[in-house]
């Protein structure tokens, strides 16, 4: 257990290192580093100062070392637009994004799991077919367009829910959250639903596929042959086996939700990282872009790490030999 933890940590470090290399290559080799790192509005003196600061006159490997050094200190440079450290900007907006992504994940699981279980257990029922067709629709509906339609219907036509911003927030653990206030909740609802739509379909389909894979197994038949109640067969024998793929979904999809919140945040003017990164790409605010990308890399590596640990806890087979 300990050795595999250590091994995985080392792997994670390698992934991070590889990604820094890719981002570095992207920014410094493919792109024009002078353009990328220097505010286009800067004057000549400023240019030379920044070129010297970032060592753009140095050989590539030294530049990479400098880049890494900056990373280690959390120094991605100052935003051209805000004139403040890029990392600070990102961190400031992170809670809003996390809140949105987490809400969407909860919705996806609460809706997707039971429906998928149902459709998997009773595939021939009409209701199951309806659910499955619905999930194809959920897959196909372009998220951003659905967001607009939500606004059109619930905000413009019906006037039930607000369509932009976080609303009132309250503080918990030193961070401001929307879900703690009624007004915040009302603001959160539409974006969270919008972001959850695609993932709900995904969770639903994966759960159904999982159920259909587990059900024909001999051990399920044997559980029935023992005279177990159907409720126990499903809630213990089927569900316990489903936990493994589901945990993977939760882990991976949480990351993907954070990435996809870019779209939802832009539509609902949700002040999170996603909106910031789109604004930054549009305004060529490169320090913020790099900081965002590196934060995402960190986040994903951390998530994968966590999933691995959950696997080990859930699947006795992995626990023994250390790998799936």
């Amino acid at each position: 257990m300990i050795t595999s933890l250590i091994r995985r940590s080392i792997q994670a470090l390698f992934v991070i290192l590889a990604m820094t290399l890719i981002v570095f290559i992207g920014v410094s080799v493919i792109g024009n580093p002078v353009d990328i790192l220097i505010n286009p509005d800067a004057n000549a003196a400023e240019r030379t100062r920044v070129i010297a600061h970032y060592g753009l006159d140095q050989p590539l490997w030294r530049q990479y070392a400098i880049f890494l050094q900056g990373l280690l200190h959390g120094d991605f440079g100052d935003s051209f637009v805000y004139g403040r450290p890029a990392l600070g900007l990102i961190l400031e907006r992170m809670p809003a994004t996390l809140e949105l992504a987490f809400s969407a994940l909860v919705i996806a699981l609460v809706v997707g799991l039971p429906l998928g279980l149902y459709a998997g257990l009773y595939p021939d029922r009409l209701s199951s077919r309806v659910i499955m067709s619905g999930s194809i629709l959920g897959f196909s509906l372009p998220t951003f367009w659905v967001g607009l339609m939500f606004i059109l219907v619930f905000a413009v036509e019906l006037g039930w829910l607000p369509s932009n911003g976080r609303g009132d927030t309250a503080e918990l653990f030193g961070v401001r959250w929307s879900f703690l206030t009624g007004d915040g909740m009302r603001h959160l609802l539409l974006p969270a639903l919008n972001l959850a739509l695609f993932k709900t379909s995904l969770v639903l389909r994966l759960t159904r596929a999982g159920v259909q894979e587990v059900l024909p197994q001999d051990y399920i038949k044997f559980a029935r042959a023992k005279g177990l109640r159907e409720s126990r067969v499903i809630s213990v024998h089927v569900l316990k086996n489903l936990m493994i793929p589901v945990v993977t979904i939760i882990g991976l999809e949480f990351g993907s939700l954070i990435a996809f919140s870019v779209v939802t945040e832009s539509i609902f003017a949700w002040p999170g990282m996603g909106k910031l990164i789109i604004d930054s790409i549009n305004l060529l605010d490169r320090p913020v872009i790099v900081a965002y990308l590196m934060m995402m890399v960190l986040l994903f590596v951390a998530l994968n790490f966590l999933i691995d640990i959950c696997y080990t806890l859930l699947d006795p087979r992995v626990r023994m030999d250390g790998r799936a």
């Binding site: 992207g26 194809i136 509906l141 413009v156 790409i281």
Partner: protein, 299 residues
């Protein structure tokens, strides 16, 4: 089997059987029909659309934001209304479909070519090359497509071409992984063994024997990928990172309408969205059935 008088059922030609089987599901038939219509509409857009929405000379700002069913000064009907620049939404959709399909199909094919080649290479060469390639694939697949695409666009800058490049780079890994998986299974089978014993050249084994057997999963993924790519292109355009304002794709049209949504000009966003939705649903319906029939594992 040696039983002489079991009457064998005369087999239909396999391809025909497959097609019949394919279309016997209502979803697939609907999907296929829609798809054919959509492709025809897109191909013949210049012939059938009332105006050329990319030709700024044909646009009249005075016709801006007219509701569906209005007429222009010159008496031309705007069946689906106009956008803020006076562009006929119907024409915009027809032309936008072209962009969407081209981007979707082209990026899916390019990604399939690259991914398949690398996947086969990995499976056949093995060793260091394989583990390096597969590490790269794992790394890439652990990041969501949209993030990869944003990363690419952040580096390359905005524009349709860059969206295509971003899509290819974001999607090749799926093919590589699947093809390698299938090829590994195939490689162990007897006929490859036989081909080896005959000392056929390597490339021949790979292209004549391994590749055809990896085709089913590649086709299925590619179909799904076209739908995803179209959705993603629209999303990126919506975010303002794709098509240019003067030659709007579906995503861009929707984005244009976004600003006017709150004022009640719903049609600018609504109809292009429906077109996008129908296209993606059609491809997914067709692809879903394809997956059932070709039934490739490990997807």
């Amino acid at each position: 089997m040696s039983n002489a008088d079991t009457t064998p059922i005369a087999p239909e030609p396999l391809a025909r059987q497959r097609i019949i089987q394919y279309l016997s599901a209502p979803g697939a038939a609907i999907g296929m029909t829609l798809l054919v219509v959509i492709v025809l509409l897109a191909v013949f857009a210049p012939l059938i659309s009332p105006q050329n929405p990319y030709d700024l000379m044909q646009l009249d700002i005075m016709d801006g934001r007219l509701p569906p069913g209005s007429e222009s000064y010159s008496g031309m009907p705007y069946y689906l209304g106009t956008d803020n620049q006076g562009r006929d939404i119907l024409s915009g959709i027809l032309y936008g479909l072209r962009t969407s399909l081209i981007v979707g199909v082209f990026s899916a094919i390019a990604a399939a070519l690259i991914g398949t080649t690398l996947g086969l290479l990995a499976a056949y060469v093995g060793g260091r090359t394989e583990s390096l390639l597969m590490r790269l694939v794992d790394l890439q697949l652990s990041f969501p497509t949209i993030l990869m695409a944003l990363m690419m666009l952040a580096v390359l800058g905005k524009g349709v071409q860059n969206v295509v490049i971003a899509l290819i780079i974001a999607e090749w890994a799926t093919y590589a992984r699947t093809v390698r998986g299938t090829a590994l299974v195939e490689r162990e089978k007897e006929y490859i063994e036989a081909a080896r014993c005959l000392r056929l050249p390597r490339w021949r084994i790979v292209f004549r024997h391994l590749l055809p057997n990896c085709l089913a999963p590649v086709i299925v993924i590619a179909t799904m990928q076209v739908a995803r790519a179209i959705g993603l292109e629209a999303t990126l355009s919506f975010l303002g990172l794709g098509a240019s304002v003067t030659e709007p794709s579906l995503g861009m049209l929707i984005s244009n309408g976004y600003q006017y949504l709150l004022s009640g000009y719903y049609w600018i966003s609504f109809f292009p969205g429906i077109a996008l939705l129908v296209t993606i649903v059609a491809i997914n319906l067709a692809g879903d059935r394809l997956r059932d029939i070709l039934n490739p594992r490990n997807i």
